[in-house]
Symmetry: C2
Subunit: 114 residues, 2 copies
Amino acid sequence: MLQTTIELEKAAGILKLLGDKTRLTMLKLINEQTCCVCEFVEIFQSSQPSISQHLRKLKDLGLVKEERKGQWIFYTVNSKSEYYSFIKPILNQLPDQDDKLKELEEKGTRISCC
Amino acid sequence: MLQTTIELEKAAGILKLLGDKTRLTMLKLINEQTCCVCEFVEIFQSSQPSISQHLRKLKDLGLVKEERKGQWIFYTVNSKSEYYSFIKPILNQLPDQDDKLKELEEKGTRISCC
DNA sequence: TAAGTATATAACTATACACTTATATATTCA
DNA sequence: TGAATATATAAGTGTATAGTTATATACTTA
């Protein structure tokens, strides 16, 4: 069983990005779901620019992909990324965050569902 | 198959530490070997205090353990750490760094061997 | 015990980073 | 087309971080 490797400098760069609670939670959330910016704003009780800047960093490394649907832009983990196999086992060890989305659904502020 | 999880805040803290090229390389090196501070100084061409401070951070989270042997203090990844199962798959995906130790051996500056 | 070697720590500095405020761009809908 | 909503970007600010220099501590050996 050959284990694929990732260049050390690149790995450190990715881990630095994951080393932020907001971004790490984001990735866990959108690993199997999809979320738009305003949902993140509500979940993290953060400002919209702050969320936008976190997503920008993740996008710059190709870790997430975006898709516009009308006025909303939906973000999802990019499973096609050459680094997905690197981050996947990390995300797998994190506790499920779906309760955050359930909260939105209960409040009626979940957008991504439709 | 139950996957153990790690608290998100803790995970982010650990990933932040791993998100530095020097510390990440250190961990990869001492995952299966042991190294003393002066070896790191030579490998990374860094100052002694800089190396010492990196090791301190890793030690504070319990990721490495130290063992004094005479004037030297040897560092090894702490496989007993409750977070070892979290960092192990990450380290496994990094390219082997043993060439760095081979270099020391060839130069005759490897200490940990005896 | 004094000198030499290895390591740790403290204080300082420069840079990186996350966040804020302000503004620009894009889309929807009346 | 104009107002409202969603998102991105730019500029500024405060804090965290990695490195430096200086010094302290611990061990070894002559």
